[in-house]
């Protein structure tokens, strides 16, 4: 293992690393400017546990109703050899009638280990790609693998459809509704970027066997319930844009060493778990370690990162904590205190702040004037 790898292991401590999933890879594009998150993810640190230990647990989980609904919808669409899915692919994406074969890659003869499933997936997909016709159409839960920051990340698309205009099409089944042709833009975005991860992984897998990228479509099939029913509907979505972004972020992750090199030597987020898995290390010490890696907090983190409450607390008193737009309005000045200092017109502003100071003074004067306060 290279020196960076060793560094990252040290940072994580003697616990098995959290492997990336499609969701975490997708999250790389959520706040790529955040060094803290980059390091934590690269080292495979359990952010949930870390956040809880330093006293800022992330919001707890998902509602079981949502989970049930999600599983039930997927099961329904895939029931009886994907009967409903086939109907969709035939009607909307003109899949030939004869293309109806179905392979379940959930397990291999009762074996569900990731390595075995991945090997089996490779075998079937390769055969399909090379021998083309009647070598498989629907591949249920194939297990793909993408190397992220040197570690394998196992990825499990809901389904991959082949022979859809002669190419593999990644198919995502989501249980949020499409109502009169519209769905929640953020949920679709999440689905699309996840699918983009699968497309990348698919292309890598086939490339190893000398099969070109064109054999995997850069359009993915999104299957969602229609309106208020459970009737599935399908839509084709273009993932080219998301793939460019992901490629760039993945390549930056490969350059993680530049981030790691500037970290204090001996830095570690090890919680020193005892046999029972209870953290023994002083939270204060851990928090200190976390603080030594710069974060780039924005309120959007609250929806996207397990560390958000810690970082928000740390960001108290900065303009970043008030949101990107506010910080922008305040001329990018970092601290609220500075803003108010300049607004009061106290002292000479540094010349790189002269303009902002001017603006803020006027703003303060106007507010005081309108609120009948003394300037």
């Amino acid at each position: 293992m290279d020196s960076t790898g060793i560094r990252l292991d040290r940072i994580r401590g003697p616990v098995t690393p959290r492997n990336h999933s499609a969701r975490t890879i997708a999250a790389l594009s959520g706040n790529p400017g955040c060094a803290r998150r980059a390091v934590l993810d690269a080292a495979g640190v359990d952010k949930q546990g870390l956040a809880a230990h330093v006293g800022f647990p992330a919001m707890a989980g998902q509602s079981q109703f949502a989970i049930t609904r999600g599983n039930a919808f997927e099961a329904q669409v895939k029931a009886n050899g994907c009967a409903e899915l086939l109907t969709l692919l035939r009607e909307h994406l003109s899949l030939p009638i004869r293309e109806a074969s179905y392979d379940n890659l959930d397990e291999v003869g009762g074996n569900t280990s990731r390595e075995v499933r991945h090997a089996w997936t490779r075998r079937l997909l390769a055969r399909a790609a090379q021998s083309g016709d009647d070598a498989g159409t629907l591949f249920d839960h194939p297990l793909l693998c993408l190397r992220v920051g040197g570690r394998p990340a196992y990825l499990e698309p809901d389904l991959i459809a082949f022979q859809l205009s002669g190419r593999f099409h990644v198919t995502e089944i989501k249980s949020f509704s499409v109502i009169d042709g519209q769905a929640d833009g953020d949920k679709v975005a999440a689905a699309v970027i996840q699918s983009a991860v699968y497309v990348l992984a698919m292309r890598d897998l086939l490339a190893e066997m000398g099969i070109g990228p064109e054999s995997v479509a850069d359009q993915v099939v999104l299957v969602c319930p229609e309106n208020f029913s459970n009737r599935p509907s399908a839509a084709l979505l273009d993932v080219r844009k998301q793939m460019t972004v992901l490629r760039r972020q993945l390549s930056r992750l490969r350059r993680i060493d530049s981030l790691v090199d500037v970290l204090p030597p001996g830095l570690t987020f090890d919680l020193e778990l005892d046999r029972a898995g209870v953290p023994r290390r002083l939270p204060a010490a851990v928090a200190g370690a976390v603080r030594s890696v710069d974060a780039r907090y924005a309120p959007e983190c609250l929806a996207n990162c397990e560390m958000c409450f810690f970082c928000r607390d740390e960001a108290a008193g900065t303009t970043s904590a008030l949101g990107r737009a506010t910080r922008d309005d305040l001329g990018g000045i970092e601290h609220v205190a500075t803003v108010l200092h300049l607004a009061r017109g106290a002292g000479q502003p540094a010349d790189d702040q002269a303009e902002v100071a001017q603006l803020l003074r006027t703003a303060a004067r106007l507010r005081a004037e309108c609120l009948g306060e003394a300037v």
Partner: protein, 508 residues
């Protein structure tokens, strides 16, 4: 957002309490608003779980769905809701006011006052929109018939949610929007979406600072989310068991157990709704504390017109609102939205110096002391002399208007002020602007007092106005051109076609 509001946020952080960003109330508040706090089942498009609704703070009505995935119960909920909301709305359609005709316009009647439904947040408003969408096409006869009131509720909810898209309309409002329009907190807009946290900043309980109150408000156990989404730990630890218990009781046929289960569920859901219910009324009270802005009544009149029109549609048996806008409807609506938005923004600035200050800061307006006035100045360039008084204003505001620009003073909206000359601020001296006034001064040789400013007045001039623009002409629906897909197929009511899943929703 503007720098002025952002500064207010910074000040709020400093003081530990929200800061005003308005000096008057920019929304109409009904004397008898109806509060509507809905909860929905996680993971579903629009599965009502419960709601607290009513027009009196001490008399909330609790609606509960014991089997949120059961479609019949879903429409049962809609029916119960309709029995509360529809009468409330129709209560306003009775007494009307007569508007005298003006010019070509006929005299007409419209409802003297209009209903107002207040919801905790925007998510609540879109829930109302979805509930409207899921009910307005249902029919009272045939298979899967629903009570006749259900489609009526659906059409009203759809109407109200659509109106909520128009800036300045107050028929259906989200409390968080109302509050952030008047106060800036020391947290981010994202966090302002939490009604409890937002009110924590604006009006913290005694002995608490805004940030403390806001932080406390983020504990979903003490401050249940304002909905429609519930807190996952509530779903998993409380709701799931209670629903399951209900099922068992029902299956066992044990009436008492069934009753017990229902009561338990109602209690649990009420505990999730009650705090928000109280917050909603508190939000309304806080806003009542502010005097209404000058144009608020005029905008409310527009709302009354809209209600009257929609009531007419229902009375005349018009079709329910279509699923999506047609090409022509969409273009018309966009034009209306753009006009209303511009007018509303101008009105708010004209009504409220603190809002105007945002424009003064960006140079779209300026204000200052009138230092010289020529009330009798005549413009003799034309054939006959015209009264064109000039005023000189000194201001410390950034002046970015060019010579010849046409300005409006909120004090005299019917009067044009043309910029004659601008002397920018320099070495400690304020800027000086000379303006030439036209209109709104009668026909005398000199301007009567009060029709123009006097020396020493504090006067304001803006580059924008809320002047009326005529609506653009669009083709008729059936004239939709080939570039836009041609005329749409006219609406025919089709008997409701439920899918197998809709008819009997069964999840394992």
């Amino acid at each position: 957002m503007s720098t002025l509001v952002s500064l207010a946020r910074a000040q709020a952080v400093d003081v530990g309490r929200a800061q005003p960003v308005a000096t008057v109330r920019h929304v109409h508040l009904s004397g008898r608003p109806m509060m509507f706090v809905p909860l929905a089942l996680a993971g579903e498009a629009c599965a009502p779980l419960a709601a607290m609704v009513g027009d009196h703070p001490r008399a909330p009505q609790l609606l509960v769905v014991t089997q949120p995935r059961n479609r019949t119960q879903r429409f049962g909920f809609a029916a119960e809701l309709a029995d509360i909301v529809v009468p409330y709305i129709e209560g306003y359609l009775g007494d009307v006011e007569i508007l005298p005709g003006s010019g070509r316009r006929e005299p007409r009647t419209r409802c003297a006052d209009a209903p107002q439904i207040l919801m905790p947040n925007r998510a609540g408003v879109s829930f109302a929109r979805l509930l409207g969408r899921s009910t307005r096409f249902r029919r009272a006869e045939g298979d899967y018939a629903v009570p006749a009131t259900v489609p009526v509720l659906g059409r009203w909810l759809t109407f109200l949610a659509e109106r909520a898209e128009y800036p300045g309309s107050c028929l259906m409002l989200a409390a968080t929007d109302m509050l952030t329009m008047h106060w800036a907190t020391g947290q981010s807009p994202v966090e302002d979406l939490n009604l409890a946290a937002l009110l924590g900043w604006i009006d913290p309980p005694d002995g608490r600072t805004g940030p403390e109150a806001a932080l406390a408000a983020e504990d979903p156990v003490r401050w249940p989310p304002a909905g429609p989404a519930t807190d996952p730990t509530f779903d998993n630890e409380v709701l799931a068991r209670l629903i399951a218990a209900g099922n068992q009781a029902a299956a066992s046929g044990d009436d008492r157990a069934e009753r017990r289960a229902r009561v338990a569920l109602e209690q649990a859901l009420a505990s999730q709704l009650a705090p928000t219910w109280r917050l909603l009324w508190r939000a309304a009270d806080l806003l009542r504390g502010l005097p209404p802005g000058g144009h608020v009544a005029a905008r409310w009149d527009a709302d009354k017109d809209a209600v009257t029109w929609h009531a007419g549609q229902l009375r005349d048996g018009g079709p329910p609102q279509p699923r999506r806008d047609s090409a022509v409807t969409a273009a018309r609506r966009l034009a209306r939205l753009e006009r209303v938005q511009a007018a509303c923004a101008a009105q708010r600035a004209f009504d409220d110096p603190l809002v105007m200050a945002e424009h003064r800061l960006t140079g779209e307006a300026f204000a200052g002391e009138v230092v010289a006035v020529e009330p009798g100045r005549l413009d003799t360039s034309g054939r006959r002399a015209k009264l064109r008084p000039r005023v000189t204003v000194r201001t410390w505001d950034p002046v970015l208007v060019d010579e010849g620009a046409a300005l409006i003073s909120p004090a005299r909206p019917r009067q044009d002020a043309r910029v004659v000359s601008v002397a920018n601020a320099a070495d400690g001296q304020p800027a000086q602007v000379v303006l030439e006034l036209a209109g709104g001064m009668g026909h005398g040789r000199t301007a009567p007092a009060g029709t123009i400013p006097e020396v020493g007045d504090f006067d304001c001039y803006a580059t924008f106005s809320d002047g009326y623009q005529p609506p653009p002409a669009f083709p008729e629906l059936e004239q939709t051109p080939w570039t836009h897909g041609g005329p749409p197929v006219p609406y025919q009511p089709v008997p409701y076609q439920p899918t197998d899943e809709e008819a009997q929703e069964e999840w394992s």
